[in-house]
Amino acid sequence: MSDKLIDLINISKSYDGQVVLDEMDLYIRDNEFLTLLGPSGCGKTTTLRIIGGFETPDTGKVIFQGKDITNLPPNQRDLNTVFQKYALFTHMTVEENIAFGLRIKKKSRQYIKDKIDYALKLVNLDGYGKRSVDSLSGGQQQRIAIARAIVNEPKLLLLDEPLGALDLKLRQDMQYELIRLKNELGITFIYVTHDQEEALTMSDTIVVMNQGYIQQIGSPEAIYNEPKNAFVADFIGESNIIDGIMIEDKLVRILGAKFPCVDTGFGTNRPVDVVIRPEDVELVAPEAGTIAGTVTSLIFKGVHYEMDVMANGYEWLVHSTKMFPVGEAVGIHVDPFNIQIMNKPESEDEEAVTIDE
C-alpha cells in the first residue's frame, strides 16, 4: 500500500481566466480506494479528466507509475473511465460495448468471448450480452459501463459519480458491488461523488475539495472526527460550528460559557471555530449543563430524535435517543473529547485555502 500509482504535482487549470484547480498536489497509492468529495463545481470532474487525459493542465505534471504522462493522449493511458452518464455506445449491443476496448487491442476472438462472459457474471448481468443497450434500466446500464471498463484490466479505474442517477436502494446495492469488484480485481479506484455518506462508506481515503483547493485528505474516520476546518466539518455530516475563544490550552469559551476541551497549542485568547457534532451534544437537567437553554423543535428520525435547542443565542442541533419536548428547559453538556477546535480562516477567501498535510 505504499507505492504511489499516480502522482499529481502542482496541477492548475483555468477556463477563460477562471481558476478551477489551483496548484493541486495529490497522490494515489496502489490498490487504494480514493474518493474526491466536494460540492458541485469544485473541480472533481476536471481532476479526473486531467488524469484521464481529456484535459491538459495549465501547470504541473501527472506521473503514472513513475512516468510523466501529462501529454499522453487518453487512448495510450493504462487506465479507464466510467463516465457520469455512462456514455454507452447505443448503436451496439451489450456485448459489442464490452468488447470495444479488447477489439481495438486486437485480442483473439476466444479471449474476448471469455472476457465478456466473465465481466457479465461479475456485474450480475449474465445472459444480457445480446441485448441492446437501450433496453436496459439505468442500474443495468451503469453496470455495463463498469464492465466495459474493467475487461481492459486497467491499473486504475476512474469513476465520475457513477451512482448519481440511481435511486437510493440501487445506489446502496451498487456501492456494495463496487467494493466487492474492487477487492476481487485489485484495481485502484479514484471515485468522484458529492454524497458524503457514499464517500464515508466506500473509501480508504477521502479528499475533500472546495473551489479547486484540497481542504483535507484523510481516512473516513479522520475526516469525520477531526475535520481540519469549518468547511470540511460543515460538508461532512451535520455540525454545530460556533465562534469561540481559546482562553488557554484545553479551555475554550463558547457563547459566554467555558468548556473544557482536549486541544492545545492555539495560544491564549485566540478566536477559533468550534465544531461539535449533533450526536455529541448531551442534554441534561438545566442546572447540570455547562449552559442552559430551551428546546425549540423536535423531530423523530427513526434511530434518534433531532432537536433544536436555543441556548445563549445559538440554535444547537442535537441528536439524541432521549426525547425532550418542545419548550422544555435543558442543560447542555459536551464531553471535552468531542469538542473539535479549528483555526479561524484569516479572511473569507482563505476559507478555501489548502491546509497542508
Binding site: G52, F54, P73, P74, N75, N80, T81, F83, Q84, K85, A87, L88, F89, T90, H91, F100, G101, I104, K105, D134, R148, A149, N152
Partner: protein, 263 residues
C-alpha cells in the same frame, strides 16, 4: 352546430387541397392527353413520355440534373458535416454567428442568391457552365446539411467520443466507430434534402448556367417559351413525382427516427 363546424373544417381542407394541387393535377392530366390542346381531352396516351425519352437534348438535361444533384449534394454533405462538427465545438456566440451566416443562402430569395452568384462568376471571369452550376448548387445545399447534422451532433453525448478514446481508440477511429453511426441518420437526411433541393432548383441554375448547359427545369422553361410542348408536361410530372417521393422518404425517416428517440 357541431356538424356545421365539421363541414366547415372539411370544406376548408378541400379548398386548400384544390388550391395546392389543382395546378399540378392539371399538369399531370395534360401530360397524358392525346392531343396538344390544352382545352380538350382527346384520350389517354403515353406518347409524350415516349417522345421524352427519344429527345437527345432532354436526356442530356436529365443527365445533367441527376449528376449535378448527386455531386452537389455529396460534396455539400461532406462539407456540411465537417462544418457541423466544427460548429458543434464552438462556443455559443460564435456558433450562432456561424449559423446565421450559413443560413443566409437558404433564407435569401433564390433570385438574390442566383444573381449574386452570377455576378460573382462574372467578376472572377469564371466561365458559366456545368461547373458554375455545380458550385452554385453546392453553396445552397450546405445549409440544409448543417441543419440536419448539427442537432444530431448536439444530441450525441461528448462523453461517448471520449469513452471510445478511453478504451483505446484514436480520435479518428473513435469518430468513425461511435460518433458517425450516431449522427448518420442526420447525415442521410441532410443528403436527401440537399439532393431534393438541387433537383428542384430553377432560379439559381437559370442565373448561373452557361448557354449550352441545361437541367430539366431550365430545359422545360426554354422549351415552353418556344411553344406548346406536351413532352414538357410529362417531364414536369416526372420531376414532381421524383421530388414527392424523396420528400416522403425524408419525412418517413424523420418520423421513424423520432419514434426511436422518444420510445
Amino acid at each position: 352546430m357541431v356538424r356545421f363546424g365539421k363541414f366547415l373544417k372539411g370544406f376548408y381542407v378541400a379548398l386548400m387541397g384544390i388550391f395546392l394541387y389543382a395546378p399540378i393535377l392539371t399538369l399531370i392530366v395534360l401530360s397524358f392527353n392525346a392531343s396538344k390542346s390544352r382545352a380538350k381531352w382527346s384520350g389517354f396516351t403515353f406518347k409524350w413520355y415516349a417522345a421524352l425519352f427519344e429527345n437527345e437534348a432532354i436526356l442530356q438535361s436529365l443527365w445533367n440534373t441527376i449528376i449535378i444533384a448527386l455531386v452537389s449534394s455529396l460534396v455539400a454533405t461532406l462539407i456540411g458535416t465537417m462544418a457541423s462538427i466544427a460548429m458543434n465545438r464552438m462556443k455559443k456566440l460564435p456558433r450562432q454567428v456561424m449559423m446565421g451566416i450559413t443560413n443566409i443562402p437558404m433564407l435569401n430569395a433564390d433570385i438574390v442568391t442566383g444573381i449574386s452568384l452570377m455576378l460573382l462568376f462574372i467578376m472572377t471571369d469564371f466561365a458559366p457552365g456545368f461547373t458554375s452550376v455545380l458550385l452554385a448548387h453546392i453553396t445552397f445545399n450546405i445549409p440544409y446539411v448543417i441543419l440536419s447534422v448539427l442537432p444530431k451532433l448536439k444530441q450525441t453525448d461528448r462523453n461517448v467520443f471520449e469513452a471510445a478514446q478511453d478504451l483505446g481508440a484514436t480520435p479518428i477511429s473513435a469518430f468513425m466507430k461511435v460518433v458517425l453511426p450516431d449522427i448518420f441518420p442526420g447525415i442521410l437526411s441532410g443528403f436527401l434534402l440537399a439532393f431534393t433541393m438541387s433537383l428542384d432548383d430553377f432560379v439559381i441554375t437559370h442565373f448561373t448556367k452557361g448557354a449550352g448547359v441545361d437541367t430539366i427545369s431550365t430545359k422545360v422553361y426554354t422549351e415552353l417559351r418556344k411553344g406548346i410542348k406536351p413532352e414538357m408536361y410529362a417531364l414536369s410530372t416526372l420531376m414532381f413525382a421524383a421530388v414527392l417521393i424523396l420528400l416522403v422518404l425524408i419525412n418517413r425517416r424523420r418520423a421513424t427516427h423520432e419514434q426511436t428517440v422518444n420510445h
